[in-house]
Amino acid sequence: MTVETILIALNGVDDKYVMSYTPIHHNSSFEKKQKQSAKSLWRWISVAACFVLTICAVPIAVHFIKTNNAPDPHWHETHVQLTDQNEAIAMFGDDLLLDRIIVPGVADSLYQEYILEHSGKDPANISTWEYLHCWLRYGVENYYDLPIEEVDIIIYFSDTLEQTRYNEFLTYHKGETELGSIEINGLTVDYYSKQETNSVTSGAWFTFNGLGYSITGNNYELVMKTVYQMLD
């Protein structure tokens, strides 16, 4: 006796036994397969569309990334870059408080960078200067072992041809969340703290001799210490 024999014999059983089970045929394998094949058809269309989009998008994205990362060939026509404090003082003058920004005893090493942005018309003339960015990174030698302490000092020049940057400085800092103000040698310094993506940025700002100073960093004490160092 084989299974075939049984299956054929089952075909001849009474109708009532056949009717004893009512398959829900819309849930049957057949319909499921049909639905699945329809679903998978749409899935494949989606995958194909995404593939085509990727093929098109990747070169465009690469183009833009490359473009954005490409060095500006005219950058040096509008910028001056230095990495030495003495050179910076010599070049930008000793009345920008640059000689006072070092905070001794915080770290053994300090990486510093000074970038002046000017209009490009006459770099020797201070009225063409837009702003001077002094970037200080403490503890650079222990980059992977210690948290980096950074202080950004941006000096905006009000006596410029267009004053665009200086006005931006004033507008920007008016909207800051101010923690309060302090008086240092008769100068009002506003300081604030704001939550950014993963960290809190501390900052202080003041105006001095027609210049706008913005000092920010990830360490509130270091920021305030720098401010005191510069004004005290």
Partner: protein, 209 residues
């Protein structure tokens, strides 16, 4: 990219909206059989409307191929047309199901069954293989049919439904458990007990050595 997937899904939804299901009045079995008796070709259309999907899915469970199943359904309609009259089935549904099941089983040759691996039929087939042996000689098909009737009668209503669902309709364990609203483990256990009972019955009646 997400936008494209959303748009495609929306398109799929819109496509479905464009093709709504037609709702027609469905004749009862007696009326359809009457159409067969009148040699009215509408009988085929009505049968297809009422039982087309059921016949198709039953066939598909066996042949595991959409085209084969479609051909079996067409053959079944032809057979219905040729056999009614003179046959007047008590239940058109059961009659049509028996025809489609028979045609679908015939479509499969024995050696092809084991090669095909994409259907519930093969699984059910191997389940039954476990209780049978090929040593015994089989002669009386009608007697075996009676035995199967008695065996099914001896089962409880639930057991019978499960057994029929599995070995008559070749539905999957999951479908049976879903249809009957019981757990799949209970379906498996019931099927195992039914097979054991069938084995005992077949041995007792001398079909198995």
């Amino acid at each position: 990219m997400i936008l494209i997937v959303v748009l495609l899904s929306e398109g799929q939804r819109q496509f479905r909206k464009v093709a709504p299901k037609e709702v027609k009045d469905v004749l009862d079995d007696q009326a359809i059989v009457a159409l067969y008796n009148q040699r009215n070709e509408r009988a085929i259309q009505e049968t297809d409307q009422k039982y087309g999907k059921l016949l198709h899915s039953t066939s598909y469970n066996i042949v595991a191929n959409t085209l084969d199943a479609e051909e079996c359904v067409s053959d079944a309609y032809l057979k219905l047309w040729n056999s009614i009259p003179p046959t007047i089935p008590k239940s058109l549904k059961a009659y049509a199901l028996k025809i489609i099941r028979n045609l679908s089983l015939n479509r499969l040759k024995f050696d092809q069954r084991t090669k095909r691996g994409d259907g519930e039929f093969q699984v059910a087939f191997h389940e039954l293989e476990g209780i049978l042996d090929d040593r015994s000689d089989f002669t009386d098909a009608l007697a075996l049919q009676d035995t199967m009737n008695r065996f099914l009668e001896s089962l409880s209503e639930e057991q019978r439904s499960i057994f029929t669902g599995r070995y008559w309709y070749f539905e999957s364990i999951a479908d049976i458990s879903h249809n009957l609203g019981i757990g799949s483990s209970k379906v498996k256990m019931t099927l195992m007990r039914c097979r054991e009972t069938l084995k005992t019955v077949l041995k007792k009646e001398g079909y198995l050595v």
